[in-house]
Symmetry: C2
Subunit: 148 residues, 2 copies
């Protein structure tokens, strides 16, 4: 059964977004990369804050417009899987079921392997294998604690 | 710590969307309401499929445009909480932290109590107490199985 591992929110100001979610009680993980991406652990799903344009570029889609409203493709849901072959298989299944692969799977600079597909309504999914984010027995990502 | 309980995707065609996610392995819960909302259990987070206009109306925001790309406010993340006072408290915290309450909390026809707030980048959150969706010890929603 697929599992939503991570939700990426495209944001205009990483510091502002981080301050907002920390005020609500989320905890920043040490996996965060200063000035680039903030990972927040909240229960069983990871929330990632990432530049809006960076997200669109990574996903191979048109950039969402900045502003006070969340624009097109400003959110990506991710399914993390145990290995690369699983990524290829789920992307193929999604394409056969009416999804559109916006960026085929490839090795990523961060050490993993992922691709993007939109569902029939245009919702963006990243299908990923990330060896740096181990999955527990239930398939959920466990981030390192800490907020340096 | 807040917990993403549920992710609502605004869709143009409920049957088409349901077929897509079932093809990917999600299981429809018996909590679904025929022709209105589809709840899918996937690991530790619930995926809800809901009409795009219905979602915007419920959230008190402008409707996302239909089409092949996910538009503004076509996604809402939800935090489900143990009681109504928690909902009021988290909405107040979010507003104080720079969020915008798009629909104040109120009793819902489905028996719960919820309001909506956008984060500083416009991402939509529903803050809810839903007595019909009990929370487990980790704060996650456990839906009834089954797909009638």
């Amino acid at each position: 059964m697929p599992h939503v591992s991570l939700i990426t929110l495209g944001v205009d100001d990483l510091s502002r977004a981080r301050a907002f979610y920390e005020a609500l009680g989320w905890r920043r993980s040490a996996a965060s990369v200063e000035g680039e991406v903030v990972f927040l652990q909240g229960g069983t799903v990871v929330l990632a804050l990432y530049g809006r344009a960076d997200l669109a570029r990574d996903a191979g889609v048109a950039s969402a417009s900045a502003g006070t409203e969340a624009g097109t493709h400003a959110v990506a849901l991710a399914v993390n899987l145990p290995d690369e072959a699983d990524v290829d298989a789920l992307l193929a299944t999604a394409a056969a079921a009416g999804g559109r692969v916006t960026r085929p799977a490839r090795r990523a600079s961060w050490g993993g392997y992922s691709g993007y597909v939109t569902d029939p309504d245009g919702h963006l999914w990243e299908i990923a294998h990330n060896p740096l984010f181990p999955l527990d027995a239930e398939g959920r990502v466990e981030l390192p604690d800490g907020s340096e």
